[in-house]
């Protein structure tokens, strides 16, 4: 790639140094600063969940008790799940990158409700604090799904954990309301609906799911809390209640929540694929429509979590077919990304390596998803490591790879500096292989009958468990390297200049790091987003008077 001849310099005044002092950060209304603070919190949560993941893998290294007892193991996997799902994955890309980029990508100065945005951050911190206090003070042992009647009967501290997740849910709702309104009312002239960048479409679809599904979760958590406090009996068969109602209401949120985790990732990948293939998206329209399709069908698939909970044959069959529909939309996306890469001038960078990892792992995660959507097969695999491997392929293999891709792709945008590219590429390869080594054995274990949530196993499973733990160590090592070189680059990285990737994404039209109100002048966008059809020509930026 041709680099600009003159060494680029950081802009003198940008959002990071426009105001100084801790107070200016704590009271900021700037979506970029709020996004950055979210990013910091999320990385902290990821570290915590990751440490517990490693602890679990060490416990599973040998049969019998290795480093912790049974109850400690139950609490550890609950903490891992609660932190990773509720406190990291669900808010991850929307709250961090969505906040930072959405206004930039539609040429707005900020989100529609900046104060609400800050409130959303504080609610998240509050919810996370309550959850973690509950986990460390009393420890819940229910798993991240809080299934009744166990969650209403167990003696561990489920109440604060539920309350914390409830508060985090509010934060998600406020962010969703904000993003939808922003996309509807704040697009700059020229950005019609069919010229909205693909990442924004993905965040928009996600926000719709967040807004429509999260309240149901909120209510079901309130019911479980009341059931614990006042013995409601709504989910308790001994009082005439129905524990399955909990599963229905919980998965009505939590299955769409899987798309809350994956859709933003798909948005990141759509951006990065175009940028590093130097090609227009193979079909912008298909990527947009499949985003909308996934957001819609995602609401109609929750029953596939309940095939062995006594669902009727008709109900199970319907949910089975609806679940497979998601695979069609996902496949449309995968083919479109591949079509974008085909005969493009591929530029291998760290974000692009993560994109390749994403597509490969999403394919495996998705196909195993179709496999468990088949009711007869699911009866065999239900509650085994096969399911654990399946959803880790989606949540870690896909969502996390997309998160890392976005982190690297937008790092220069956020901080105006670059990270060492070669180290980045090497680490990306290490992480992808570490991931496969961790979770591929778990497919095999599950198929052999290893149940999930068990601290112990027969000796014949040990070799595969050792392989999985070895992979997890590689993963942990990889994240450590990333933390080191990105931390180093914050201060010492080479100055990136406005657009180090020569991307045609709208967000790169402003300086890196961007000024306080994103653009120095009101923007008018004439070219479509992701337009690489005129090589070497900077996109024309129309400027309103």
């Amino acid at each position: 790639m041709s680099l600009p001849s003159a060494e680029p310099r950081l802009p003198e005044r940008h959002y990071l140094n426009a105001e100084r002092g801790l107070w200016s950060w704590l009271t900021t209304h700037d979506h970029k600063r709020i996004g950055l603070m979210f990013l910091g919190m999320l990385l902290l949560m990821f570290l915590l969940g990751g440490i517990y993941a490693l602890a679990l893998r060490i416990e599973l290294l040998t049969p019998g008790e290795t480093i912790m007892g049974r109850l400690a193991y139950n609490r550890a996997f609950t903490l891992h799940g609660v932190v990773m799902v509720w406190l990291f994955l669900i808010p991850s890309i929307p709250s961090a990158f969505g906040n930072f980029l959405l206004p930039l990508m539609i040429g707005a100065k900020d989100v529609a409700f900046p104060r609400l945005n800050l409130a959303s951050l504080y609610l998240y911190v509050l919810g996370a604090a309550i959850t973690l206090w509950g986990m460390f003070e009393g420890g819940a042992d229910t798993g991240w799904t809080f299934y009744t009647p166990y969650s209403t009967a167990t003696g561990t501290a489920v109440l604060p954990v539920l309350l914390g997740v409830f508060v985090v849910g509010f934060s998600t709702i406020l962010t969703g309301v904000n993003f939808i309104t922003t996309v509807h009312t704040m697009r700059a002239p020229g950005i019609t609906w069919m010229k909205v960048p693909l990442f924004v479409w993905a965040i928009y679809g996600t926000a719709v799911i967040q807004v429509l599904a999260t309240p149901v979760l909120g209510m079901v958590l309130v019911l479980v809390m009341l059931e614990r406090v006042a013995g409601l009996g709504i989910f308790d068969p001994a009082r005439g209640g129905d524990p399955l109602l909990y599963q229905h209401l919980f998965w009505f949120y939590s299955h769409p929540a899987v798309y809350i985790m994956i859709l933003p990732g798909m948005g990141v990948v759509s951006e990065a694929v175009c940028a590093f293939s130097r090609k227009n998206p193979f079909s912008y329209r298909v990527l947009v429509l499949s985003t909308v399709g996934i957001a819609f069908v995602g609401f109609l698939t929750w029953g596939h979590h309940m095939f062995v909970s006594g669902a009727s044959v008709l109900g199970a069959g319907a949910f089975s077919i609806l679940s497979m529909l998601v695979a069609i939309f996902t496949a449309l996306k995968i083919f479109t990304w591949l079509g974008t890469m085909y005969r493009g001038s591929i530029w291998i960078t760290a974000p692009f390596v993560y994109v390749l990892g994403f597509i490969f792992l999403l394919f495996f995660g998705g196909m195993s998803g179709v496999a468990v959507a088949v009711t007869s097969a699911d009866i065999h695999w239900h509650d085994t490591y096969f399911v654990v491997a399946h959803f880790h392929f989606i949540m870690v293999g896909a969502s996390l790879m997309a998160f890392l891709s976005g982190l690297h792709y937008w790092f220069p945008k956020m901080f105006g500096r670059r990270y060492p590219e070669a180290v980045g590429i090497g680490t990306a390869v290490l992480i992808i292989f570490g991931f496969i080594a961790t979770f591929l054995p778990q497919f095999l274990l599950g198929n052999m009958g290893m149940p999930r949530r068990y601290a112990d196993y027969p000796e014949r499973f040990q070799s595969l468990h050792v392989a999985s733990t070895a992979g997890a160590s590689l993963l942990g090592f990889g994240f450590l390297i990333i933390a080191i070189y990105l931390g180093w680059s914050l201060r010492h990285g080479r100055v990136a200049g406005r657009n180090p990737w020569e991307s045609r994404g709208y967000e790169w039209l402003s300086e890196s790091p961007p000024p306080e109100s994103n653009f120095h002048e009101p923007m008018v966008f004439t070219d479509p987003p992701h337009d690489y059809s005129k090589p070497g020509v900077e996109p024309e930026v129309g400027r309103a008077a």
């Binding site: 900020d110 429509l212 008018v524």
Partner: protein, 207 residues
Amino acid sequence: MVPHAEHFGDEASRQDAAHMGMWIFLATEVLLFAALFAAYSLYRLAYPEVFSQAREHMDLALGTINTYVLVSSSVLVALAIASIRKGRDLAAGVLLAGAVLLGITFLCIKGMEYAHHAKDKALPGAHYAYDKFAVPGASLYFTLYWIMTGIHAVHVTVGIGVLSVLCGQALSGKFSAAYHTPVELGGMYWHLVDIVWLFLWPLLYLA
């Protein structure tokens, strides 16, 4: 909706966004209650007899009076919005005060009902010991009753707070024919609280 160049360059686009945000928020409220209505439907299907007999143990008169009270307060809020659109802030403030008083009346009547049920020991869940209605599933009906009306009452309380603040602001002349978005948003919230009750009333008192 027309895209705008500036971060709310004009008042009209600010209002657009504010209204839209409120509508989306109301949608989340609807889904919040939807979970409860789903639970209600499930247990009504499971215990049809209980749910049809339960009516006899409810105070239909108080429930109906409360419906009138809440709908009337919604009318006052609607009139308040109509007044402030014409710039009559004193009238709007008085109407909002009336709506707040009716809201408080609603909560008082609801409290009386709760007191009756508590005296009969028709309490939710484990504390249910109502001897005149001791069939399987009866405790579930009352559990649902307490939760649905209880969470509704929480919303009424929040609404009373919102309307009180708006009332104070209107009387101190903060709003005018040109600027009254907060009154409209508060009104929308209050109407939603009202509408939810219009579903609770037939399901719990008339069914």
